[in-house]
């Protein structure tokens, strides 16, 4: 009785992994990267570039604390995009802080596709 269960698990895993990848659009991710959203507390408008900058091969700066953020581009920082749990955690926080809501699966896939090309 264990093997059918294993097959189902594998199939589900493959599905959740490949669906966003198929739909991902790096150009849309690039456009979304610098799109500015007004902040609900009246502070300056926010975008992903607020902390990570426009050139992902360069270090960024955490806007609220000033702490340096290592480059996001895998071409200069191979550690990036290697840990799915870490990616999920930061997309959740960063979308809420930047856009004021969680990102959709498609938005997240586009951002990742864009970062991958950098």
């Amino acid at each position: 009785m264990t093997s059918p269960l294993a097959i189902v698990l594998v199939a589900t895993g493959a599905l959740t992994l490949s669906t966003p990848l198929l739909a991902a659009d790096a150009a849309a991710g690039k456009a979304g990267w610098t799109k500015e959203y007004p902040a609900s507390d009246g502070s300056a408008a926010r975008s992903c570039a607020t902390c990570h900058g426009r050139d992902l091969t360069q270090p960024g700066r955490q806007a609220n604390t000033g702490k340096v953020i290592e480059p996001l581009a895998p071409s200069v920082n191979p550690q990036r995009l290697t840990d799915p749990a870490k990616i999920e955690k930061w997309l959740l926080r960063n979308c809420k802080w930047t856009i004021g809501r969680e990102c959709t699966a498609a938005e997240k896939a586009d951002f990742i596709a864009y970062i991958k090309t950098q």
């Binding site: 955490q62 609220n64 604390t65 000033g66 702490k67 955690k89 959740l92 809420k96 802080w97």
Partner: protein
């Protein structure tokens, strides 16, 4: 004294000499080993060190009393963390919260750490508790002018301990290791 005992004593003296100069070499330029002893026990929990160091240094648990850490680590509070979002999975949140509480200022033996718990009032203030608003912190920093903090692009706020205290990551906060960007060491 036999020759045998003499050699033994010489050996021991030699060993002590090596130990002292080794220590002196390591910390010599920072003002000797006494000055570089940790004032607050350094961070020793991997999950905490990873999760709570992404946006600022991982503050040592001994910088706030247990009640304050409990407020900071509340699930809703993590979602509205001093204007940022620091939410965690429930597993990580409980692990980190218990580490912080077990090593908090009121549990510490280091005197400098215990000082951070003195006079803490969980009901005072409207926002989350801050290290920088404890009575001890304010007493130690009231002579530092705003021009060196908010008006200093390399510091920004008192919350960035490591920008002035070079040993902050190791829990060293004493006067001898202060180097304020654009100003230098602190002369009393």
């Amino acid at each position: 004294m036999t020759a045998h005992q003499g050699i033994l004593i010489l050996l021991m003296v030699g060993a002590v000499g090596v130990a002292v100069s080794d220590d002196g070499n390591r910390n010599g330029k920072l003002g000797g080993w006494l000055a570089s002893r940790a004032d607050v026990v350094p961070v020793a929990n991997a999950a905490y060190g990873e999760e709570c160091s992404a946006c600022h240094l991982a503050y040592q648990p001994g910088l706030l009393p247990a009640l304050a850490w409990t407020q900071v680590m509340d699930p809703a509070a993590l979602g509205e963390h001093y204007g940022d979002d620091a939410s965690l999975t429930e597993t990580l949140r409980t692990e980190i919260a218990s580490y912080l509480v077990a090593h908090s200022a009121d549990q510490a033996s280091a005197p400098r750490s215990r000082a951070f718990a003195v006079g803490f009032d969980a009901k005072a203030g409207t926002g989350l508790p801050r290290i920088t608003e404890t009575r001890y912190f304010k007493r130690k920093h009231h002579r530092v002018p705003a021009s060196l903090v908010a008006g200093n692009p390399e510091v920004g706020s008192f919350s960035q301990c490591h920008t002035c205290h070079r040993g902050a990551a190791k829990g060293i906060y004493n006067d001898s290791q202060i180097d304020i960007p654009g100003h230098g060491p602190w002369e009393d």
